[in-house]
């Protein structure tokens, strides 16, 4: 439409909107004027005054209808009606406080938890980095295709240093491109022994991110001039406030990281925790990589993925230009590596950028959102049921409105306005609760996670995305629970509902009951799925608590030493380990000391592809390098052949395989003296067979696994396992003292071997708690739903029950009748829920520790529990039915 058109119409619409009373008065006057003129005309034609007036009115076709048509023509009816509906809706809600409270509460719960979980996910994965002009900063991932041999440290889609330099020096789109290695572990020395997670960064890091240290300075170009040349560090505000107690003149002082002294040049601004979900405690120049981890020289390895790359896009440059420009560089790099093609994933940077992280995150997030969404569904079904029940009370009112000329859509609109009003109140309340409480809840959950992620840089405060989600969800909810009852109750046979008093026949009797039952069935089904998931996980946890992992966890203390990181070389490491093991074995109460590359269930894994000479098939086998005492310390017996002897090292040709590995490789044959070839071609022969034990993955007995003898190389990164008799604290203290006396700067953490179990159980514990809480919430809502529907149907049928009793039915029969009808939708819904859960429960199998995803215990107990609760929920109102006094009920008319 042309603007001049609006010039005319807008004032008119506004006038009719804001001065609708006056506009209405004018309409009134206009029509009255018309009537007068018309009457005069008819009188002039010879009619009586009365007759003329009647004809004039008839010509107009009903004054009220015509007025209504005029209002419609003005297009303001929509708005006016809306306000009218709103006023009316508010009045209805005020008049039924019980109903309103129940509905608002259900919606608030449903919307609240959904908004809460969304704000957490939003904070974790959708929010931009909390840095100035974050929308300009993009993350770059490279995904390599083709036959590529590539080493990876942290993530395969990361960059090598030479690749980073290529992109940095040859792009035309960034005002700055930085690279960093995340999650660098370092031990803070100098009397404040502490394990830190930090970042190795290129020296433009703070400049590109636009973060300027609160005290001191960031990095200078000269800091990165030469490898190992400049031991400077910027520490986080948290570390400064925590460990260094806000020491006023820390800048310029030296701190020890992994035995090297670093000058603190700056303290990061408060609130800046790096660009990863796990906060960074310190930032060191990338050139200090080898000093922090002398084991590997990552800067020199052109084929190693270890650096995350972020770039700040120049103003005015589009994402397409960035892609095109970097694509050219990627193509040039590919030319140097025949057979390799690189595709780049470039996106505005958040806390989760890497392809692999996103691939893991997406399904997890979908499952979580779906689970929370299910609870909202149950809440909606509940409110819809309440509305349906109430609609039949209001049937007469609705019939009256229809009969005096309201259109069906007009009624549907009014009913929908009411439900939207309800959802808006509930949604607002729920969202407010969520904003207010979820930050605390998140902190609580995080504090229960395994200690290495005890803090997350997640900001759950609401932003426009969360508000949008809350609003969208609220409206969807309002329409979701309102539409069906509205359509249902506005479709009725006027004659019957006006004639009867509308109390005895439900609205559209059959379909009304069917709808209510369908809603109850849905609730029960959803509830069943959530509770079954919780039940399975709890069974899995119990299973993990009681499962026999095939080795003896009790009475073993364990400690991890990363000597390589602390600057030891082979010779010093071997000497240290020899002395250490000697001294520990002399401690009182210590029975035996062993060492291994991976402690049982420690989440340290090594694997290789092995072949059996004469066969083509490659078999992935996990392995461990262990000292001879390992088998007796962790209680894994050698069932055939022998274990290792004290003199055996990496050069010895013997390996010990597990029983299931032996069965897998040489079924029906003796495994002893058989040959096995590792991927680099070296051959080993089997000298012993060890009993199967779940040393690598809890709940998985059939992992193919073998043991190599430990050599001097294994001393630099080693688990020490100590079998002791007596109490743990004394033994642990003893072990700590031994380590301290040999090297006072070495961080030691002695734990029970059993504690590793906890890490395995943690994820399923969290998921079980979550699905249990959601299931309980759904159960509560569903019980209320069942109770509501049964008591409603009883109250509607007082008359019928009275008749039945007058005809001789006794209480038992009535109870039977009511319960039978109440339980039908519950049984159908329950069955659907069980079938649905059985179909999808395999997704949980990784958290069940070998328990079947169709565990009969869970699949019997949970449905039984639900059935009993549903019975109780329907028994209470059903009992009321048996107390109906036939005389009263019949006189009720």
């Amino acid at each position: 439409m042309r603007p001049e058109h609006w010039l005319y119409t807008i004032p008119l619409r506004l006038r009719s909107l804001f001065r609708w009373a006056q506009a209405d008065q004018e309409l009134d006057d206009e029509l009255r004027d018309h009537l007068d003129l018309k009457t005069e005309q008819y009188v002039a034609q010879g009619m009586t005054q009365e007759e003329a007036h009647r004809r004039a009115r008839l010509d107009l076709g009903g004054i009220e209808q015509t007025k209504e048509k005029c209002r419609d023509a003005r297009g303001v009816n929509l708005v006016e009606n809306f306000f009218q509906d709103l006023r009316y809706g508010l009045r209805m809600l005020r008049q039924n406080p019980g109903f309103t409270a129940a509905a608002v509460l259900a919606i608030a719960l449903g919307v609240g938890i959904n908004v809460g979980i969304f704000s957490v996910l939003n904070g974790a994965a959708l929010r931009l980095l909390p840095i100035p002009r974050a929308e300009q900063v993009v993350s770059i991932d490279q995904i390599l295709h083709g036959r590529v041999k590539r080493n990876a440290h942290n993530g395969s889609s990361m960059f090598s240093y030479s690749e980073y330099l290529d992109y940095r020096d040859h792009n035309h789109v960034f005002s700055g491109l930085l690279a960093y290695e995340p999650f660098v572990e370092a031990t803070l020395g100098g009397g404040k022994m502490k394990e830190l997670t930090g970042t190795l960064a290129t020296c433009n890091y703070f400049d590109v991110l636009g973060e300027h240290p609160g005290q001191g300075r960031g990095f200078l170009e000269s800091d990165c001039a030469a490898p190992g040349g400049n031991a400077v560090v910027v520490i986080s505000d948290d570390l400064w406030r925590g460990t260094f107690a806000s020491h006023a003149s820390l800048v310029g002082k030296r701190i020890i990281l992994n035995r090297t002294a670093y000058t603190v040049v700056g303290i990061a601004p408060p609130g800046f925790k790096g660009t990863e979900p796990i906060p960074s405690s310190f930032w060191a120049p990338i050139t200090m990589q080898k000093a922090l981890d002398p084991w590997s020289d990552r800067m020199a390895d052109d084929n190693l993925s270890w650096l995350a790359v972020l770039g700040r896009v120049q103003p005015g440059v589009t994402m397409e230009q960035v892609r095109a420009d970097l694509g050219v560089i990627a193509g040039r790099i590919d030319l140097l590596h025949p057979g390799r093609t690189t595709s780049l994933a470039i996106r505005t940077a958040t806390f989760f950028n890497r392809q692999m992280e996103r691939e893991i995150l997406t399904p997890v997030v979908s499952v979580i959102l779906a689970a929370f969404g299910l609870v909202l569904l149950v809440a909606c079904a509940n409110v819809a049921n309440l509305l349906l029940a109430r609609a039949s009370v209001r049937q007469k009112e609705i019939a009256l409105r229809l009969s005096i000329g309201a259109s069906r859509w007009r009624l549907v609109r009014q009913l929908l306005t009411e439900s939207l009003l309800l959802s808006l109140i509930g949604g607002t309340l729920g969202s407010l609760l969520a904003f207010w409480s979820f930050e605390a809840i998140t902190r609580l959950i995080i504090s229960h996670l395994p200690h290495q992620v005890s803090t997350l840089a997640v900001n759950v405060a609401p932003d426009f995305r969360v508000l949008g989600y809350a609003l969208g969800l609220t409206f969807l909810t309002g329409i979701g629970f309102g539409l069906i009852p509205a359509l249902q109750s506005s479709r009725q046979d006027l004659n019957t509902s006006l004639k009867e008093d509308g109390a005895h026949s439900g609205p559209g009797k059959r379909s009304g009951r069917f709808l209510r039952n369908a809603l109850v069935g849905t609730q029960v089904a959803v509830c069943m799925i959530l509770l079954l998931a919780a039940g399975l996980l709890l069974r899995g946890l119990y299973h993990a608590q009681t499962v026999d992992p095939g080795f003896e966890m009790k009475g073993v203390a364990t400690m991890f030493l990363n000597l390589g990181q602390q600057g030891y070389d082979d010779t010093r490491g071997t000497a240290f380990m020899g002395r250490l093991r000697q001294r520990i074995s002399e401690l009182p109460g210590v029975i035996e000391v062993a060492q291994a590359e991976c402690a049982p269930l420690s989440h340290d894994f090594s694997a290789d592809a092995f072949t059996v000479p004469g066969r083509v098939e490659k078999i992935g086998i996990e392995y461990n390098h262990v000292s001879p005492e390992y088998f007796s310390v962790v209680g894994v017996p050698i069932v055939r052949g022998r274990g290792f002897l004290p003199g055996e090292t990496h050069d010895s040709p013997g390996v010990v395989v597990t029983e299931s590995t032996a069965r897998r490789l040489w079924p029906d044959e003796d495994a002893l003296a058989k040959t096995l070839r590792e991927s680099r071609g070296r051959e080993y022969s089997v000298i012993g067979v060890a009993r199967d034990a779940q040393v690598a993955h809890l709940g998985d007995v059939h992992t193919t696994y073998l043991y190599f003898p430990a050599g001097t190389q294994d001393n630099l990164r080693v688990y020490v396992l100590v079998r002791y008799a007596g109490d743990f604290p004394a033994t642990a203290r003893g072990i700590r003292n031994v380590v301290q006396s040999l090297d006072a700067d070495l961080p030691v953490d002695v734990t029970k071997l059993e504690d590793y179990l906890e890490v395995w159980r943690q994820p399923s514990r969290i998921v079980a708690a979550l699905s249990g809480a959601l299931g309980a919430l759904a159960l509560l809502l569903a019980s209320i739903g069942v109770y509501g529907v049964v008591s409603y149907s009883v109250s509607r049928r007082v008359h019928e029950i009275g008749v039945r009793m007058a005809l001789g039915a006794d209480g038992g029969e009535i109870m039977n009748l009511v319960l039978r009808q109440a339980m039908r939708p519950v049984l159908v819904g329950g069955f659907v829920g069980v079938a649905g859960c059985a179909a999808v429960s395999w997704v949980l199998s990784s958290m069940l520790f070998g328990l079947s995803a169709h565990d009969p215990m869970a699949f019997v107990i949970v449905p039984l529990l639900l059935l009993i609760l549903a019975l109780v929920a329907s028994y209470l109102p059903a009992r009321r039915a048996t107390r109906v006094d036939p005389m009263v009920a019949l006189r009720y008319e």
Binding site: L27, D33, L58, Q65, C70, A73
Partner: protein, 121 residues
Amino acid sequence: MIASVTEDIEMSKPSDLVQGTLDMLLLKILALEPMNGFAVSQRLKQVSGDVLQVSDGSLYPALHKLEQEGWMTAEWKTSENGRRAKYYSLTRLGRRQLEKEADNWGRLSSAISRVIKLKEA
């Protein structure tokens, strides 16, 4: 009694009017001079020789719609015989709209009459 009402309503239905032509007729009539609703209905009947009858019940919503579209404005004036009445008059937009619709109508009606005048074989 009830039956006669129904008849009345059916009789006065503008069933003879092609959809959308009522707007054009009203615009044309008001293009001559501003007038109130009653006068519009009288004029319409009079000019068309009683062929085009628009029920009062349809007339007013149509007028209001045209006003809403911005094709005419209305003002309250005191008529010759001293009563206040709502007078509709065409706006510039309304005149343009009338030209457009009259054009359309001309094309349509001549096309239809050409078809109707075809000689039967």
